[in-house]
Amino acid sequence: MNNAYISFTAEANEAIGEFPELQLCVREDSHPYLVGDISLYDENNVVYDKYSIRIECTTEYPASFPYVFETAQRLPHNIDWHVYGDGHFCICTPVEEFIHCSKRITLKGFIKEHVTPYLHNQSFREKEGYFLNERSHGSEGILESIYDLLNTNNANEAYKLLKFIYNNNTPSRTSMCFCNSGKKYRYCHRKAYQALKTIGQERLLLILNYIK
């Protein structure tokens, strides 16, 4: 069993403690997975919807998200529904996934902070005909997530900011921001710098080359 499978299996009990309708399946011939239901609660803690899912460990876990599938044929396998042809969910952009994984996700945290909101959004889509929020498909969606992080909507500006983050150590908290806004760094791009720097130089370079 590799390290990914060991982490996934070790974290499963904690996840099941929070989501008791899930159960862990471990077989010699395949990767471990959680299977069962996720109940969706309203603001008064009353269940208003429920999805049957399977969460599969990948060999990259926890450096990448596990794969999540809906198992009751309720969601079409269609990218317009943010579900790939093989049925796994596309929860966020790769850039956002890098950032979340750099904070060392756990299975419980992953289900709570990513899978559950995604399922709420799918439930909303089924009821209202559109997603509450969503990214565009492909490169446009990736750029949207970078723009949100860096608080800009200009590709050249985003590239410059990313290049600074890639090439430089953490600025002093009292220095002026590297974006030349005239604001102090700590009131401007500190969160973005920290979030992106923690994903590592290799992944940062991937993003830089992507938007070049």
Binding site: D49, N121, F124, K127, L132, H137
Partner: protein, 90 residues
């Protein structure tokens, strides 16, 4: 197998190759998609129907000037989905 071959043909064929008003058609289609998206998101029935009528004409009924409230389930889903921004590679 046949299905995948057909799909490939569709993806590579330029269906508007010999269409004289190609640019105008695509521009109108783009506007229709934008307005349809806005209409779906519009909670006021009259405002939404005006958007549909721009493209579909008077055959599309004019809605009442009242806001549609979200159902209980939709409101609960909206509250839970606030941090979700799903994506997909093309």
């Amino acid at each position: 197998m046949l299905k995948s071959v057909d799909t490939k043909l569709l993806l590579t064929d330029d269906l508007l190759e010999n269409y004289a008003n190609k640019d105008k058609f695509l521009e109108a289609l783009d506007k229709f998609i934008t307005d349809a998206d806005a209409a779906i998101h519009e909670s006021n029935q009259k405002e939404a129907s005006k958007l549909w009528r721009k493209h579909l004409g008077d055959r599309f009924p004019l809605g009442d000037n009242k806001d549609e409230k979200r159902t209980y389930g939709a409101a609960a889903a909206a509250a839970g989905a606030i941090t979700s921004y799903p994506f997909a590679h093309e």
